[in-house]
C-alpha cells in the first residue's frame, strides 16, 4: 500500500531581545547559571508581568514575513500545569488570540515552489533549563522568561525534505530579521514534528506521532524520513500506530519512544488577569514592519535583478546573514558585483572556514576589500597578486595600498602602445618562435610572453599581453 505522510511543524524561536518577555531580567546565551534572574523569573509572589515591547515588535516582524494577519490587540492567556522547569506554575502565552494568524511561506522543492500554510504565531515565555543528574536535578533560571514565538504550520508538509526546507526558511527569516540567533544547536530554534501517514488518495488523517528535541536542521530530514519508513512498515505489516512522543537519536539514526500519549493534558487556559488587553496602533505595527532588516528573499531578488548575480552566487551569499551584510557593505564602495560576490563566496568564506571564525570577527574593513577588488577590476594588479595582497592586509593589518607597497607589487602596465612595442622587439629577436608558433607548438607562446615579461620586469598585464601578442602574431 502506498502512504502519504501528513506533517505539521511547531517551531519555537527564542527572541534575542535585551530583556525577558515579562521582566527586566537580561537575555543572554551562555552566562553563568542563575545570574540573569529577577524575582519574576522565579515566580516570587507579588511580581507582575510587564509585556516586553521589543518582543512584540519582533513577533510582528516574523508574522509579517510569514504573510500573517496581525492582531492589533494583544491578549495573553495562562497555560496551567505543574512542572519543575515552570517557575510560576503557569506559562503566559497567547491561546485564543495569537498575534499572527493565517499565513504561509513558500519553499522550493525539486525546482517547484510549494506553499506551506501557517496557522498561527504566538508569543510566550520560556521555562527554566533543567540539568538532570542521577539523584538530583539542577535548575538554571537564566532561560526562564526568555521571549519565544511559536510558529505552528498547517499539516501541509509531505516529506522530510519539505520539512527541512520549511525549517530552513523559518530560520532564514528569524535570522535575517534579526529577531533570533536561530541556532538549533543552542536551542534558540526548536522544532517539534507531528507526523502521521494516510493511504494515498484518502482524506482522513492517521494517528499522529510527535517527534521532539531535534537539534539540527539536517536531523529534521533524517528524523522525518526515518519516521515515515517506520510507520509505513508497521502499517504494511498490518499494525497500528500508537499515539506517542518520540525523540530523534542521530547516533542511531532513528526515532526513539519517549512516552505514549494518553488523553491530552488539560492546560485550563484562561485570560491572564495581570495583563489587560493592549491596543497596538497602526503606526506601531507599521513601524515594526518598516524597520525590519531586509530578508533573504528580498536580497536575493536584488542580487539577481540589480546586481546581475546568478542564482548560485546569490544563494551562496545568503546562507549567512552576516556574510550577506558584509557583501552589502562592499557594494557601497564598488560596483563590481560579480567580482565582489566571488571574493566573498570564495576567498573570504575560505579564510573564515580555515580560521574557524565568523565574518563578524573578520578584520578586513569592507571599504578596504572593495578597493582591492577595484584594483583587480581595473587590471592594475593580477588576481594572484590580489590574493597575496589580501593575505598581507589581514596578517599585517594594512590597507590594500599599504599591503601592495609592502609586497613590492608595482602597478601593472596596461598601456597598449608600450606593450605592442615590446612585443615587436621580442618577435624581431626570436623569429624562430614565430615559426614554432605557426607550426602549432604551444610552448612558443609562453616563451614569447616570458620574454616580454623579462623586458618589462613583469610589470605588464599578462592577460592584455597575451591578447596583444596573438594580434601581433596574426600580422606576421
Amino acid at each position: 500500500m502506498e502512504f502519504e505522510p501528513v506533517i505539521g511543524l511547531e517551531i519555537h524561536v527564542e527572541l534575542k531581545t535585551k530583556s525577558k518577555m515579562f521582566s527586566n531580567g537580561p537575555v543572554l546565551f551562555g552566562a553563568e547559571p542563575n545570574t540573569l534572574v529577577v524575582p519574576l523569573d522565579m515566580g516570587f509572589p507579588g511580581t507582575m508581568p510587564i509585556v516586553n515591547k521589543e518582543a512584540v515588535i519582533y513577533a510582528i516582524r516574523v508574522s509579517n514575513a510569514l504573510h500573517m494577519k496581525i492582531d492589533h490587540e494583544l491578549h495573553f492567556d495562562r497555560k496551567n500545569y505543574f512542572y519543575s522547569d515552570l517557575p510560576k506554575g503557569y506559562q503566559i502565552t497567547q491561546n485564543l488570540r495569537p498575534i499572527g494568524s493565517d499565513g504561509y511561506l513558500e519553499i522550493e522543492v525539486d525546482g517547484k515552489t510549494k506553499r506551506i500554510n501557517i496557522e498561527r504565531l504566538h508569543m510566550e515565555e520560556d521555562t527554566c533549563k533543567q540539568l538532570h543528574f542521577n539523584t538530583f536535578t539542577l535548575l538554571d533560571y537564566n532561560r526562564a522568561g526568555t521571549p519565544l514565538v511559536e510558529i505552528v504550520s498547517r499539516p501541509d508538509i509531505r516529506s522530510g525534505e519539505e520539512a527541512m526546507k520549511y525549517v530552513e526558511k523559518i530560520r532564514s527569516i528569524v535570522v535575517f530579521s534579526e529577531v533570533s540567533d536561530g541556532k538549533m544547536e543552542e536551542g534558540s530554534l526548536r522544532c517539534d514534528v507531528n507526523i502521521s501517514l494516510r493511504e494515498k488518495g484518502t482524506e482522513p488523517f492517521g494517528t499522529k506521532v510527535e517527534i521532539k528535541n531535534i537539534n539540527s536542521i539536517s536531523h529534521i530530514q533524517r528524523a522525518v524520513d526515518f519516521e515515515i519508513a517506520r510507520q509505513s512498515k508497521i502499517l504494511n505489516e498490518g499494525g497500528t500506530i500508537a499515539q506517542e512522543t518520540r525523540r530523534y537519536d542521530d547516533a542511531k539514526r532513528e526515532t526513539i519512544l519517549m512516552r505514549v500519549k494518553t488523553d491530552a493534558v488539560d492546560y485550563k487556559y484562561f485570560p491572564e488577569p495581570n495583563i489587560t488587553p493592549i491596543a497596538l496602533s497602526d503606526e506601531f505595527v507599521e513601524d515594526a514592519i518598516k524597520n525590519c532588516p531586509e530578508l533573504a528573499d528580498s536580497k536575493k531578488v536584488r542580487y539577481m535583478n540589480e546586481y546581475g548575480l546568478n542564482e548560485y552566487d546569490a544563494s551562496q551569499l545568503l546562507i549567512d546573514k552576516d556574510l550577506s551584510n558584509y557583501y552589502d557593505e562592499l557594494t557601497k564602495y564598488s560596483k563590481q558585483y560579480k567580482l565582489l560576490a566571488n571574493w566573498v563566496n570564495v576567498d573570504i568564506n575560505g579564510y573564515l572556514n580555515k580560521n574557524n571564525i565568523t565574518v563578524l570577527n573578520f578584520s578586513l574593513k569592507p571599504q578596504e576589500l572593495a578597493s582591492l577588488v577595484e584594483m583587480v577590476a581595473k587590471n592594475t594588479i593580477s588576481s594572484n597578486q590580489a590574493k597575496e595582497i589580501f593575505n598581507k592586509m589581514i596578517s599585517d593589518n594594512l590597507t590594500a595600498l599599504e599591503a601592495k607597497k609592502a609586497l613590492g607589487i608595482s602597478e601593472q602596465i596596461s598601456d597598449n602602445e608600450f606593450i605592442i612595442k615590446v612585443i615587436n622587439e621580442v618577435l624581431d629577436e626570436f623569429p624562430n618562435s614565430i615559426v614554432d608558433y605557426k607550426e602549432g607548438k604551444g610552448r612558443a607562446l609562453g616563451f614569447m610572453i616570458g620574454q616580454v615579461m623579462k623586458k618589462t620586469q613583469g610589470k605588464v598585464n599578462p592577460k592584455l599581453t597575451n591578447d596583444l601578442l596573438l594580434e601581433e602574431l596574426k600580422k606576421r
Binding site: P45, G46, S84, T137, K268, F270, P273, N274, T276
Partner: protein, 486 residues
C-alpha cells in the same frame, strides 16, 4: 507615657508638627501595644526596622500628614528582608527580596512600619480563623467570642485596638470593607488599578485591590493621596492622573443623587442597623442630597457569592501554583518533581485552601469551563451592567456594609438565606465592577460596631470620600478604638 492609641492620623500629625510627640515615641508606643496584642493579630514584629526608621525622623514635614505615622502591613504584601508568609505554612521562612509598591510609598512618605499583620491563609476567607496562627479575635470583645472578619483580620484588629492609626490591607471580595464594619473602622478600597498591586500576593487579580484601614475618612483620603498612581511594575495600574482626594471632603452634598439598593438592605433583619442607616439617610436628605431606593433583582444578587467563588477560586488555583516547594518556602525531598511538589503543597496548605484549589481547578477544566468559569464571567458582566445602569442615574450607591455586628465564632449562618447570600456578600459588587468602595462605622449594638458602605463611579474616589465624610460628620464616629483590655 502619654496614650495616643485612639488618635487619627490628622490628630497625630498636628502633635508631631508641634513636636509634642516624636515619631520615635509613637513608634515605641505602637511596638509596646503590638507586643501586648491579645487578638492573635501579628505575624512578625518589625521592631528593628521601625526603631531605625523612626529614630531618623527629626524634622516634621508640615505638608506630609503621614510623616512619622506608625502603620501596619498585611502579611500578604512583600516586604524586603522581612519574613512574609501570607499566613500559610507553605511560605514559612520566606524572606522577600523586594518591597510591595504600597510599602515603598509609605516608607518614602516617612511613615513607620510596625509589624506584619496576620490574615486568613493567602487572603482566602472572611472570618479571620484560617491563618496559620489560628483565630484572630475582635478587640471589641475581650472574651474572644466574636470574630473580627477577614481576610484582613490582623490589620483590622490592630487598628481597632489602637496599635496604629493605619493598616494596609487587601480586598478581593470584601476583605477590607467587611472587617472594617466589624471593627468600627474606615475600610477603603479604591477603583481597580488606582493603586499598584505590585508586591501583593495575588489571590484573584481581576478582583484584587490594595485596601487600608484608618480611623477617619480624612485619614483615608490622606493615605490614598500617597498610594494612588501609576506604577511601572504593575502594568494594570492606571495612567489616570492622581487628584487630591481631600479636595471634596468639605464640599456640600446638595443635589448629590444617592441610590440605596433596596434588596440589599431588606436582606438583613437587624433593626438597630436599619434604624441607624435610616437616620443617616434622613440627615443626608436634610443636607440636600437626593436619596432614592432602587431595585436590583434578588435573583441576580443571590448569584453574587457563587459567581465570586468560581472566579476567585479559579484564579487562585493558578496564582498559587508557584508555591510548589521548589524555589522558596519549606522544601521536601522526593524521588520525582511530583513528589517534591505534592509533599510541599500537602503539608503547606490547610484543608480549606486545598478545597478552594480543587473547586477552582474543577471550574477551569476543559469540560467544565463553559458551565462554570465562563458562565461565572458572563454573570459577572451582567452584574456590572446592572450596577453601571444605576450609576448612570445616580452619583453614589449607599447600603449597609454587613448584615449585623461581627458574628460569634460558633454562629453558623444559613448559607442559602438572603441574609447570607445578599447582605453578607454584596460588597463583592465593588470587586466585580472594580468601583471604589468604603465602609465606615454607623453605630453600635451591644458594644459591637456596625457599618455602612458607599460605592461610587470609577475613579470617583474623591466623591465617595466626600459622602463618607458627611456620614462621619452625622454619626460623629471617628477615632474609634476598642476599650483597653486588662
Amino acid at each position: 507615657m502619654k496614650n495616643y492609641r485612639n488618635l487619627t492620623i490628622k490628630e497625630l500629625h498636628e502633635l508631631l508638627v508641634k513636636k509634642e510627640v516624636t515619631p520615635l515615641e509613637l513608634t515605641k508606643e505602637a511596638l509596646e501595644l503590638a507586643k501586648k496584642d491579645t487578638n492573635n493579630a501579628i505575624e512578625y514584629l518589625m521592631e528593628k526596622e521601625a526603631l531605625e526608621i523612626a529614630s531618623n525622623l527629626k524634622e516634621p514635614e508640615v505638608n506630609n500628614p503621614l510623616w512619622g505615622i506608625p502603620f501596619i502591613i498585611k502579611d500578604n504584601m512583600s516586604t524586603k528582608d522581612v519574613p512574609t508568609t501570607a499566613s500559610s505554612n507553605i511560605l514559612n521562612g520566606y524572606v522577600p527580596l523586594f518591597d510591595a509598591t504600597v510599602v515603598t510609598k509609605l516608607k518614602e512618605a516617612h511613615a513607620v512600619p510596625i509589624c506584619k499583620a496576620t490574615l486568613d491563609e493567602l487572603a482566602m476567607g472572611g472570618t479571620g480563623t484560617t491563618g496559620h496562627l489560628g483565630t484572630t479575635y475582635n478587640p471589641y470583645d475581650r472574651s474572644h467570642k466574636h470574630l473580627v472578619g477577614g481576610s484582613s483580620c490582623g490589620s483590622a484588629a490592630l487598628v481597632a485596638d489602637g496599635v496604629a492609626p493605619l493598616a494596609l490591607a487587601s480586598d478581593t471580595g470584601d476583605s477590607t470593607r467587611k472587617p472594617a464594619s466589624y471593627a468600627g473602622l474606615v475600610g477603603f478600597k479604591p477603583t481597580w488599578s488606582r493603586i499598584s498591586r505590585f508586591g501583593l500576593f495575588p489571590f484573584a487579580p481581576s478582583l484584587d485591590t490594595i485596601g487600608f484601614f484608618t480611623r477617619s475618612v480624612l485619614d483615608s483620603a490622606y493615605t490614598l493621596n500617597v498610594l494612588a498612581g501609576r506604577d511601572l511594575n504593575d502594568s494594570t495600574s492606571s495612567t489616570k492622573e492622581v487628584e487630591d482626594y481631600t479636595r471634596l471632603l468639605n464640599e456640600p452634598i446638595k443635589g448629590k443623587k444617592i441610590a440605596i439598593i433596596k434588596e440589599i438592605n431588606e436582606a438583613t433583619s437587624d433593626k438597630t442597623l436599619l434604624d441607624l442607616f435610616a437616620k443617616t439617610v434622613k440627615e443626608l436628605e436634610n443636607k440636600g442630597a437626593e436619596v432614592h431606593y432602587v431595585s436590583v433583582s434578588r435573583h441576580l444578587l443571590e448569584t453574587l457569592f457563587p459567581t465570586y467563588f468560581v472566579i476567585s477560586c479559579a484564579e487562585a488555583t493558578s496564582n498559587n501554583a508557584n508555591l510548589d516547594g521548589v524555589k522558596f518556602g519549606p522544601a521536601y525531598d522526593g524521588a520525582t518533581y511530583q513528589e517534591v511538589m505534592t509533599k510541599a503543597r500537602t503539608k503547606g496548605f490547610s484543608e480549606l485552601i486545598k478545597r478552594r484549589f480543587v473547586i477552582g481547578s474543577y471550574a477551569l477544566m476543559r469540560e467544565n469551563q463553559n458551565e462554570l468559569f465562563l458562565r461565572a464571567q458572563k454573570n459577572r458582566r451582567r452584574i456590572v451592567e446592572e450596577i453601571n445602569k444605576i450609576l448612570e442615574e445616580y452619583d453614589l450607591i449607599y447600603t449597609i456594609a454587613a448584615p449585623s455586628v461581627a458574628p460569634t465564632f460558633d454562629n453558623a449562618s444559613d448559607k442559602l438565606s438572603d441574609e447570607y447570600l445578599i447582605a453578607d456578600n454584596h460588597l463583592v459588587i465593588g470587586n466585580f465592577t472594580g468601583l471604589p468602595s468604603i465602609t465606615i462605622p454607623v453605630g453600635f449594638e451591644n458594644d459591637l460596631p456596625l457599618g455602612v458602605n458607599i460605592m461610587g463611579k470609577a475613579f470617583h474616589e474623591a466623591e465617595v470620600l466626600q459622602l463618607a465624610n458627611k456620614i462621619e460628620e452625622i454619626t460623629g464616629l471617628y477615632g474609634l478604638v476598642a476599650k483597653e483590655g486588662k
